[in-house]
Symmetry: C2
Subunit: 360 residues, 2 copies
């Protein structure tokens, strides 16, 4: 077995211990004589798995009792539809535009209501987070929408927007569980599992109870209704059982290493190692505003597209894979999610340093 | 390791060889240094996995070139919405009602159009398949809808309905790949993977090219548009990558044992073993019309609820699990999908025989 350092932006690296346990349990989960993927979702043994996953997630994020935790399908993209279809009452919502994923969310929400973009960083290729302290939020807006961490550009919202009392909805896909968050400040948080939590195909939704409404458009597809999923505890139909089981294992792994505060400290260390090196480098430079830098996705360039390509190629040959930046930004991106060990970041910095010496 | 005989109706038993391979590749897929669940869905290595899965499925079912194969999320239940939202043009469709799942599909479709139930077996608790040779299909119906195999009751459509030239849509979830099907006779076939193909969280959709329309209600959520998924080859957003990889392994397993004709022969043998025993038993009896019997889900009772309970309990204690019938039917159900070895059915028959001798 030969594990590489995988800097993929998602689907992304998972903790080795989690993968080992999953491999060991593949043919026989804890003496049941079955794989978890062969179990009825209505069986006691599987109910324990999903209940424990929810409980561990609640522990990790200190989720208040008036919030529901859902494990759904369709990724964050389906949430782009479900949020407006379930939350619009006055038919108005205000969106903060910080990248491709918020643009897609805005486009989708416009099918269902009057959507204002209250601020945007598109003027500078989404390389910064705008000031969110005094946005022109409408009096009758049903909610304010943000994307917490912008995977493509490597930016992160450091101070939550002043929503002027409106419900805050956050796409937290690529920073979920990487640092503490005060759930009580949000109305809805959703996160595709494939960045920091588990395999693709599960999306986690945390929703405040009063936002789970029955009085929505009766033509809403049943699978897109939060009330149906809440009533059925994510089991209106067969949920992605194996994915949820793996998310649960990641939650246990996080608890074991000390919870969200502990992983946050490690994540800060990892990001600092990389940003500090980049900031003193004569070859590499960071591509986003320093105050907006993500802990999860570190974007950098050399200034030469050829040199960027050469770096990605040589890095791959040396066991540092998936460092190519998104096609819309070019350059490089190192995604250093929770499961990336600090040794992986140290090794990458050493490799960058050697590359700089060789080609500088 | 202690594998039991798992007669679960779904999520259900998977081939042991497939699970073993998945366990072996969990930390390092073919020297890539990554688990499949850690791979970018846009990477060459993953593209090969999904492309090969599609190719193998096309080979198995001889899918004509004018049909698209999609790997989507949301289960069969999301298809209950997507079918009418994408296929209704005249706003009318005719449904064949053979169980709980068609009832749910009908209820959902009524949100979007004028839905007629052209025949139903609800009068006898869905214990038979009605005559489908001369249904009152409307001249301007956009499609005729059926469920091929009714998991809960253990019935199967043996002769396709005469649709009078209209498009046929089939929910094939619980018999998909269990016997040959002539894809060219259908407009849309869909199947949740968790019965006969792979883990829950992937649904396979086979759709004829002319039914993939752009001129549908513009308010349709983007993830519910077949045209978007076709254009993006199931990659509009991150697909359930690991589930698709396992479906691909099951397709290879089926090809290895000789394809659909070969597995069909085995399935007939398995079902006959069980039905033949039941038919001569003085204790057990089959619950559905003999001409409508499913090869996949064999439902039977003793006539005494206490004896049924005792049977399920003793069976479980002896390593034959998940034999309890659906709560709406009571009694027993043995789901004997492709992955259930003939030895499992033989052993179950022996156990039933011993139980009958002991308690008869």
């Amino acid at each position: 077995m030969n594990r590489i350092y995988n800097f993929s932006a998602g689907p992304a690296i998972l903790p080795v211990d989690v993968l080992k346990e999953a491999a060991n349990e593949m043919l026989d989960y804890q003496g049941s004589g079955m794989s978890v993927m062969e179990m009825s979702h209505r069986s006691k043994i599987y109910e324990n798995i999903i209940d424990e996953a929810e409980k561990d997630l609640r522990d990790l994020l200190h989720i208040p009792d008036n919030y529901h935790v859902l494990f759904l399908q369709g990724g964050a993209t389906l949430q782009f539809s479900m949020v407006p279809m379930n939350l619009l009452k006055n038919g108005k919502a205000d969106y903060i535009n910080t990248g491709v994923w918020t643009k897609k969310a805005i486009e989708e929400a416009r099918k269902y209501g009057d959507i204002h973009v209250v601020t945007s960083s598109e003027d500078k290729m989404f390389s910064y987070i705008p000031d969110l302290s005094n946005l022109p939020i409408r009096e009758d807006a049903d909610y304010v929408y943000m994307c917490d961490n912008n995977t493509i550009y490597g930016t992160k919202i450091k101070t939550l927007p002043n929503t002027k009392g409106k419900v805050l909805v956050s796409d937290a896909s690529s920073c979920f569980l990487s640092e503490p968050m005060d759930v009580s400040k949000y109305g809805v948080i959703f996160a595709g599992a494939q960045k920091n939590v588990g395999p693709a195909g599960t999306v986690i939704v945390i929703i405040r109870d009063d936002l789970v409404r029955k009085d929505i458009d009766p033509k809403t597809p049943i699978m897109l209704r939060y009330d149906i999923h809440v009533e059925n505890k994510s089991m209106y139909n067969t949920p992605p059982t194996y994915g949820i089981y793996l998310c649960g294992k990641v939650f246990k792994w996080l608890k074991k290493i000390g919870g969200i505060d502990a992983i946050h400290q490690i994540n800060v260390q990892k990001a600092n190692l990389l940003y500090d090196y980049i900031d003193q480098s004569k070859m590499f430079f960071g591509t986003v505003d320093k105050n907006s830098r993500s802990l999860m996705n570190v974007c950098f360039k050399t200034g030469s597209a050829e040199l960027d390509d050469l770096f990605v190629k040589e890095a791959k040959a040396n066991g540092y894979d998936n460092l190519k930046g998104h096609r819309s930004t070019g350059g490089m991106r190192a995604s250093i999610y929770n499961a990336m060990p600090i040794d992986g970041v140290k090794a990458l910095v050493e490799f960058m340093n050697a590359f700089e010496k060789k080609h500088g």
